[in-house]
């Protein structure tokens, strides 16, 4: 029995690269891709991004991947559907600015903005959007997100083959979460530092001045 054959056995677990893990979505930042299992953003899962204030680069980090999602048909969707997925913005803190989104390469006709009144509506909307199978990515800015809610989002993302991205304050770092990937962003003079707090199938890492 060759070594390769042995490694294909599903009972063999290897920490760094999960056997059978789907390839991730290229983030556009090779340094980050190398640290993520699957070589990119984990699809069908919840990603949490912890930030202390808005505008420190959290959107810039996502833009290349989102642009790719809005432009081309993703392989993860049903093979019959020739349409690219939608990107839903649930409760953004400011107005996502259309000319800038277009500059980043996002197809504006694939953007849906949802402004729920409170957190329960927010979670409901996000869950609907995720499980609908129409949205390739759902970005949400919840005021609070407990363990149970994050689990629900994670399940909805799996069900609809969608990518959920929740933006949360730094204080959420101590809270348990079902997210497959948790990043902490800190702006420094040299640029934005990305700290991978939790990565399913991967290892925590710190990336200085990524952006």
């Amino acid at each position: 029995m060759s070594l390769e054959k042995l490694l294909e056995n599903p009972r063999v677990w290897r920490g760094s690269s999960q056997v059978g893990a789907r390839a991730g979505l290229a983030s556009g930042y090779p340094k980050l891709d190398r640290c993520l299992p699957g070589g990119g953003w984990p699809f069908d899962a919840l990603t949490e991004i912890l930030i202390d204030q808005y505008g420190i680069g959290e959107l810039r980090l996502l833009m290349p991947a989102l642009a790719q999602l809005s432009r081309e048909e993703t392989q993860t969707h049903c093979s019959g559907s020739a349409e690219p997925g939608w990107i839903a913005w649930v409760a953004p803190p400011f107005q996502p600015y259309a000319p800038a989104l277009q500059q980043c390469g996002i197809d504006l006709s694939r953007v849906l903005i949802v402004r729920p009144k409170d957190d329960s509506e927010l979670l409901w909307s996000a869950e609907q959007a995720l499980s609908s199978g129409t949205c390739a990515a759902v970005l949400l800015w919840p005021v609070t997100l407990d363990d149970q809610a994050s689990r629900r989002l994670q399940l909805a993302a799996e069900k609809g083959h969608s990518w959920a991205i929740a933006f949360r304050p730094l204080s959420a770092r101590q809270q348990p979460s079902a997210a497959a990937l948790r990043l902490e962003l800190q702006s420094t003079r040299q640029g934005t530092r990305v700290h991978i707090l939790k990565s399913r199938g991967g290892r925590p890492a710190v990336l200085d001045s990524l952006l």
Binding site: Y54, G55, L59, Q128, S132, S187
Partner: protein
Amino acid sequence: MARAWKSPVVARDNAPTPTAKQQSLPFAEPASLTGPLPPAKISLTPTAVTRLWFCIWLPNLPLEACRSSEAALAIVEEQHGIHRVLQADSVASAAGIMPGQSSNAALALLPTLTLEERSLVREQQVLERLATWLERFSSFVSIAGKDVLLLEIAGSLRLFGGLPHLRKTVSKGLRAQGFSAAMAIAPTPLAATWLARADRRVCIRAQENLGPVLRKLPLGCLDWPAGQRESLIAMGISSLGDCLRLPRDGFARRFGTERLLEIDRALGRLPDPRDSWRAPERFCADYEMTEEQSECALLLHICQELLLSHEQFLLARQLGTQRLYFSFFHLKSAATELQLGSAIADRSQKRWFDLLKIRFEALRLPEPVIAVRLRSGLSQPLQVDNAHLCFHAEGGKQQRRYSIAQLAERLAARIGEQSVSAISMVAEHRPEYAWKLQNPLSDWASNTLTTKSCVKRPLWMLPEPALLPADSGYPLYKGSRLTLLDGPERLETGWWDEQNISRDYYMAADGAGLRLWVFRNRQRTPNWYLHGIFG
């Protein structure tokens, strides 16, 4: 609702329709004045197109129109100041209640009897509903009188698999809706009506076979005034054949030309144009309850029934609608309105019901409900999309459950239509007008506009420019002085609509590395403003 007056007579060239003047002088020919009625005059009947009329007579309409679940029910009508039983259901009939009895006598026979006043309005509504339903079988449906429906079926026979099958389908459908009907088929509408009233379950297809059958009909099945009928019987005339043997002029003098014309129309000697029933373009239906209800499950069930009939209504027309309006009526306070919107024209009961359930959760009814009304918005042709051929049968790979339009309408139904939007670009230099929100339910306009701007724009836009404090000419953000990295980009435009701006835009960075989009106003006071964050 406009009723198109449409004559079923097509072969006008061969057989000109007599005008009113001509009709009033049917005795111009001396031959017809004297002797018995001549045999059918072929010249006046359209020979090119044969017509076939399907008559449905609803003898028990007053009873069946009453939506009551009572076991013993009788319909009463006021005659000369006394309420008399008009019709009684099987339970009441078994107890000995007969039509014509006074309501007191009926109650004495059966104290548990429910008496219901006859409502002609309700009967008319039921007839219209049935006519709308019958439109699926024929393009020409006509309401003839209080309890008769006529269909022209010559053109429908092939589609519905022949006469026996069509007949069976109609009678089964009527039975399923709870109506007992007598049916007959004849080449003229009046003959079909009379045959149905006589409960002769016949089907006459050829004009020449009509005469012998009609001759045997008793006078009772004709809708003639009782006085005339009695005097005819007193003369020893009991059937239509006896009438036909009478001299035309004498018959016309005694009983009026109208009766004579009727016989001629029934035999096909004169054309008999009818009004065509046209169902209203928009659906509107009420559901009235016998008592007030506040239970959600029951109300939802009623709404579901209304939606089902709405679907059938649109199905017959191959239409869909984007808006539905529910009204919940209360006894004391004003009606509660509920509006549903859909991104694409739809008629499916299931989808509308799903939307309704979402909205119903949030609906606060001030009082119990006594009636529910459903109105549909403007109907439009259904957009039919091709379904994808998805050969992907892997378990985990699930098809997209619904389209973006459906998702948008679900979200809009729960959190409000203003809260769900799409964005698009506007050809405009002023940053705050260079984009707009769109209603995703009304238009998914494609964003074809692309601006090739080389100057970077921020991803986050503040709803309003925020005034920044300044320190010796430089802006301050959260207490720290901003470094201007890039700029200025001068925007000076908008003189045409009073919203003119004159600004110098800069990209600025604060001490922590945050990138901001700030501008200095060049008009009036030269203040610094924060307009966006590069994110």
